[in-house]
Amino acid sequence: MQSNAALEYDYSVAKLFTYTTILFGFLGMLIGTLIAAQLAFPELNYLLGEYGTFSRLRPLHTNIVIYGFTLSGIWATFYYSAQRVLKVSMAESKFIMFMGKFHFWLYFVGALIAVVTLLMGISQAKEYAQFEWPIDIVVVVIWVSWGIAMFGLIGIRREKALYISMWYYIACFLGIAMLYLFNNMSVPTYFASGGLGSILHSVSMYSGTNDALVQWWFGHNAVAFGFTVPIVAMIYYFLPKESGQAVYSYKLSLLSFWGLMFVYLWAGSHHVLWSTVPDWMQTMGSVFSVVLILPSWGSAINMLLTMKGEWNQLTENPLIKFMVLASTFYMLSTLEGPIQAIKSVNAIAHFTDWIPGHVHDGVLGWVVFMIMAALFHMAPRMFKREIYSKKMMEAQFWLQTTAVVLYFTSMWIAGITQGMMWRAVDEYGNLMYSFIDTVTVLHPYYAIRALAGVMYLTGFIMFAYNMFKTMTSSKELTEEPQFRSPMA
């Protein structure tokens, strides 16, 4: 069935997305570090006039890291690995190649427009779904063009059975499509009012509690299908490839995949505990969040056991270090999430800095580490040069790991401190602290978090520099490395 002649894979689209991963990663983390510093030192709010306040920049940070950095990373790895697991080259079909390039350029232009509109304050003010309706339409076209490229490649594949990574990429595609469409249903007011006011403005099809339900069904699962599912796709491909080890258990992969698909969606309502959403739904959200530990840990343990008997690679190869640590942070984060979804814990944790703390041990420790490791693995194969510097990669690893630990520990302490202070009462049953007391007390933690941001950003700049040197001036390779990536 398969020909033995080596296929010449075409990485032109994967390369384009690699560049934007680095660009948006830098931008998103730069803004993130700035807004973290603003909470510790409020004077920093006035650097860019009306456009530089914490409130205006925060959606810019979240959107750039989610829809800029992470999506670029997902697509860079997709256009690289899908060809390989399907045993088909992008170059074999002019149409698929066109769709891939169209996908990239529309995405890039769309991303730039999105950045400008967010800076201008054009926003639906739904968290992680700020874009107004015209951008939503562009997003849909971008998404569909990815779908066409993906199912096109699948259509002409030589390897009949889909590898595990492909399951996750398909799920990412379907999940986000469903969530994004339903959450962004809105009516443009210009057309419904006989041509009055701004053409960009729209009003949500859902109101109040319903809007909240749909929004958090979306918000939670955008994390699921954007920050979890495609990242798992990456680790299932890149860890075995880099280590030369076969995936530990096929059955565990199956259980984790279908388990994750079924359980994840239910857990969305843990974002609206103690709200006006019906009690039974809140309880469902709690229960399913706890059940979610099973499939999440299933994947993570499957990955860690893939390294069984080969743990020496951890000391020899910094790329393996990145991936194993990513998997470990995934376990931490997917244990922490369910704990916060228990109603009594949530009563303290919700609305505090523990939540951004949780998000960031997940994204900084798991998502970003995994994406950087994947790009490091791809670079020698795409650019036919060895990785520029192993030393720099080691230094980057330790710098960023320290940064993540500083970030989440400071936010854990800040969150629990504030949550306890909000409810503290004196001997007569009166509230002990005014709100501002519970803000000023956080200053040292905000300062530590800002420092962690600077460290993490520095690490990312080292990554970008290392990648740039790898692309341009590192030693050339004569043949493709089979497993371990060569590095100087």
């Binding site: 409130s55 999940g175 007011t189 419904a192 069904w217 994840y264 969606l265 239910w266 309502s269 103690w274």
Partner: protein
Amino acid sequence: MFHWLEKNPFFFAVGVFVVIAFAGLIEILPNFAEASRPVQGLRPYTVLELAGKEVYKKDNCIACHSQLIRPFKAETDRYGQYSLSGEYAYDRPFQWGSKRTGPDLHRVGNYRTTDWHENHMWDPTSVVPGSIMPAYKHMFTNIADLETAYAEAVTVKNIFNTPYGDDIQPGKEAWEKYKAKVLEEAKKIAADMKNQDVKDAVARGEVPEIVALIAYLNSLGDSRYAAAK
């Protein structure tokens, strides 16, 4: 079965879709009719308040402020009666938020005044020493987009049956006629403010963002329950 699915991408995709769509159907659909009913006596936002809500959205106040008072004594002591579902019936989109870097605002209209907001938005530390909130001085000069707010009122009236009066109608003409009412309301807010530039702008027929925002903030709380108060 799984081996078969892995070789048949179409059915694989269908399978995944069914499995992930299941939870949404069961959790979200049954609640829709029930939760969208307003509490008794609740009036929708005025056009000026809607314009203020746009300012709230534009400067993304939701990044630091919630509008959801949870049913705990510590919260009701601090912010007032815990929030009810029907109070949000006219909120499109909802603005519950997910982070309180600053305090909850769901009933801020009950205990803060126009004057307080004016000072606070100009320089937060002047009324709350130690505040880390930035000043929003640009709201005193930027002009609010009243026409878009009116367009929103028309839209929700015609499409979602939000109970606005008969004078809210589509088209430029209806808006030109209605505008006087909005300005009247803005003048009342401006009368309680001290910034002369803002007063002058409102007198000219241009409403600075700060006036609309204060109208919105004042509407958060009991003033929207005509029947109750």
